[in-house]
Amino acid sequence: MQFPQQIHTDIISTVEFNCSGELLATGDKGGRVVIFQREQESKNRLLSRGEYNVYSTFQSHEPEFDYLKSLEIEEKINKIRWLPQQNAAHFLLSANDKTIKLWKISERDKRAEGYNLKDEDGRLRDQFRITTLRVPVLMPMDLMVEASPRRIFANAHTYHINSISVNSDYETYLSADDLRINLWHLEITDRSFNIVDIKPANMEELTEVITAAECHPHQCNAFVYSSSKGTIRLCDMRAAALCDRHSKFFEEPEDPSSRSFFSEIISSISDVKFSHSGRYMMTRDYLSVKVWDLNMENRPVETYQVHEYLRSKLCSLYENDCIFDKFECCWNGSDSAIMTGSYNNFFRMFDRNTRRDITLEASRENSKPRAMLKPRKVCTGGKRKKDEISVDSLDFNKKILHTAWHPKENVIAVAATNNLYIFQDKIN
C-alpha cells in the first residue's frame, strides 16, 4: 500500500485511471483536478515499485452564479473521463453540474533560446543592437507539466450532470443529467444533440430520473442509462435520433417479501459500468452490486451483497440522508473481479469466479505502507468476535463512494473523504 496521498483539501469527488493506467486523475469538491503519474519501475530502485506521484494540479472549474435562477453552480467535479491517448499529450474531460471541459495536459521539457527580437528574460532587444539573424535553438529545461482548457462545453444542461462517457469512436461523447442525455462532438462546443429526454410535459408527473449513463465500450451506437427506479435501458442510436424508446429494458422483478417503504429508494441505481468485454454491465444500488448479461433483460446474472446488515437500519439511514449516498463500482482489467465502497472507510471486492469476497479498510491507523491489508468483518448481531466491528459502531460519515481499478494491473485507487489511497494487490 502506498502512503495515503493527502493532496486534496476538499472532499474527493471522482477518481479515474487513464487508458494505460500510467496516470490517475482525481477531482474534488473545490473544482481542482490532481493527476498522479506512476513512476517507472526501475530494477535499481526496488523501493519505488511503481508509486504514484503528483504530476499536475490545476483548477478545472470555478463556482459560478446563475443569475437567471439566482442559484449558485457548484464547482465540484462530478466526473472525469480520459480520452484515449493519440499523441504525446493527454486529454481528459472534467464535468461539474453544468459545464464540461476538455483539458490538454502536456509536458514541456525544452525551451527555445536565441530569439532575435527579445532577450532570454523576455525583454525586447534594442533594435539597433540587432545586427545578425539567428535561428533559435531548443535547449533542455526542467520538466514542466501544463494543463490548458481546449474546449468548454457549456449551456446544454438544465439539470445536474451526473455522467460523462467517451464513445468508442473517439469523436463523440455523451453527458447525462437528471432528465436528459446529450451527445457531443469533441470538436464542436456550440451545440450538442439531445438523445434522451425523460422530462414529462407536466413536472408534477415526474417520478423517475436518470442516475447514470455510459457508452458501450465497443459499439459506438449503443449506450445505457440507469434510473432512480432501478431500471436500465440500452439504447441504439441508429434506431432514431431521439432514443426515448429503448432497445432493451433491464429490470429485476421485486421480491414481494422484502417490500418496504424504502424499497424504491434502495433500488435506485447509483452507478452503471460496462465490463471491458462489453458483454456484461454492472449496476450499484444501495445495498448490492448486480452483474447483468446484456442478452438477458429480466434479471441479473450475479448479485453481490455489499452491506446487507444495513437493511434493518434503513429508517435511520433515511433520516440522516445516508440512504441517498451514491456509491460507484468498478471492474478489474480482466472483468474477473469487481469493487465498490461502503461506510466506515470500508470497501469490498468480489471475485466473480471463486465467489470470494473481502472487506478492506482504507485508513491510516490500520495500515502501514507496504503492509498487507487486513480483511475486516462486520458483526451483525450476537457475540462480537475480536477484530470484528459491530454495525452500530460504523462511522457513516466515512464513506467510500469513489474507487478505480487500474485497467491492466492489480492496482486500485480508493478515495476516502479527502484522502486518496492507492493499493497494489498481490493476490491473483
Binding site: T207, S228, F261, F262, S312, L314, S316, D321
Partner: protein, 288 residues
C-alpha cells in the same frame, strides 16, 4: 383484564374483543404511528429541500415517491377494518417489518423519550382521546403516568408537524365523538391523498421557474403563514414553500426573530405551541 364496557378507539366497538385482536390492533396502531412518523420525516425533508440553494432532484423525487406511497397506503388502509388488517397473512404483514425497525425510526428529538411503542397499553390507546383534549388547551404534556408515553408522542406530533395538527385532529375527534364511526385515521388520510398530485407539482414546479423574491419579511411570513392550517393540506404548505425565495440557512436564522408576528390563524392558547414549533424547526434546520 380489560373491562367489558371499554370501547377501543381503533377497532369496531361492537364486537367482543379478544386479547389476540388487541395485540394485533396494537401492532397495527404502532405501525400506523410509525408510518405517520415516516410521512412527517419525508415532508420535512421535502420542505427543507426548498430551503436549500440547489436541491438534488433525484433525492427529491425519491422522497416524493415515498410520500405518495405512504399516502396511497393510508388511503387504502383507512377503509379497511383495523383488526382485519392486523390479521393479514403471515407473509404480508407490513406492520411486522416496520415494527422491526421501530427502534431506529425514532427521530433525534425523540431519543430522550422512553420507548413508546412497546409501552403502549390498552389504556394508552384509550387515553389518547383524553390527552388530545388536553393538548387542545395547552401544549404542556399531561402529567398522568399512564399518559406520559403516548402523550409525549402525541405532543411530539404537534410540534413536529410545525402546523397545527390541533385543528385537524380536533375535527377528527369531534367526528368520532359524534359517533360518525369513522376511524380517526380516515380523515387525515383522505385529506392527505387528495393533495398528493399537487404536492409533487409544487415540489418539481420550482425546478422550472423561479418566482421573484418578494423580500425576506414577507417571505418568512409566507413560510409560516400556513404553519397551522391543516398539516395535511400539502398544497397550501408547499405553495408557501414555493414562493419563498431561495434563502440560505443563515438568512433564515437571521430573519427568525421571536418578535415576528405569529400567523393570524393561530389562536392565543396555541401561541406558545407556535414558538415551540419554531424552535423545533430551527433545530432541524441548524441540525441538518
Amino acid at each position: 383484564m380489560f373491562s367489558k364496557g371499554t370501547k377501543r378507539k381503533f377497532s369496531d366497538g361492537d364486537e367482543e374483543i379478544s386479547d389476540e385482536s388487541l395485540v394485533g390492533a396494537r401492532v397495527a396502531s404502532s405501525y400506523n404511528l410509525q408510518r405517520q412518523s415516516l410521512l412527517d420525516m419525508s415532508l420535512i425533508k421535502l420542505q427543507l429541500c426548498h430551503m436549500l440553494v440547489e436541491p438534488n432532484l433525484c433525492r427529491s423525487v425519491l422522497i416524493a415517491n415515498t410520500v405518495r406511497q405512504i399516502q396511497e397506503e393510508m388511503t387504502h388502509d383507512g377503509s379497511w377494518h383495523m383488526v382485519t388488517e392486523a390479521f393479514c397473512g403471515p407473509g404480508q404483514s407490513p406492520s411486522e417489518r416496520l415494527v422491526a425497525t421501530e427502534v431506529l425510526c425514532r427521530s433525534r428529538e425523540q431519543d430522550a423519550e422512553p420507548k413508546l411503542f412497546s409501552v403502549i397499553s390498552y389504556e394508552g390507546c384509550r387515553e389518547e382521546e383524553v390527552v388530545a383534549d388536553e393538548t387542545l388547551c395547552s401544549v404542556s404534556v399531561s402529567d398522568t403516568v399512564s399518559n406520559v408515553c403516548l402523550a409525549g408522542r402525541v405532543g411530539q406530533c404537534w410540534e413536529k408537524s410545525e402546523l397545527s395538527g390541533v385543528e385537524r385532529d380536533e375535527e377528527a375527534l369531534e367526528d368520532s365523538r359524534l359517533g360518525s364511526g369513522e376511524d380517526e385515521e380516515i380523515d387525515t388520510e383522505d385529506g392527505a391523498s387528495t393533495e398528493s398530485p399537487k404536492t409533487t407539482g409544487q415540489v418539481f414546479g420550482t425546478f422550472e421557474i423561479k418566482n421573484g423574491s418578494p423580500g425576506p419579511d414577507s417571505a418568512l411570513e409566507e413560510l409560516f403563514s400556513d404553519v397551522d392550517t391543516s398539516y395535511y393540506d400539502l398544497d397550501t404548505m408547499l405553495t408557501g414553500m414555493q414562493s419563498a425565495p431561495k434563502m440560505g440557512p443563515y438568512d433564515l436564522l437571521d430573519s427568525l426573530a421571536p418578535s415576528h408576528g405569529s400567523p393570524s390563524i393561530v389562536s392565543t392558547p396555541t401561541c406558545r405551541s407556535d414558538l415551540n414549533e419554531l424552535d423545533h424547526i430551527m433545530e432541524i434546520i441548524v441540525g441538518s
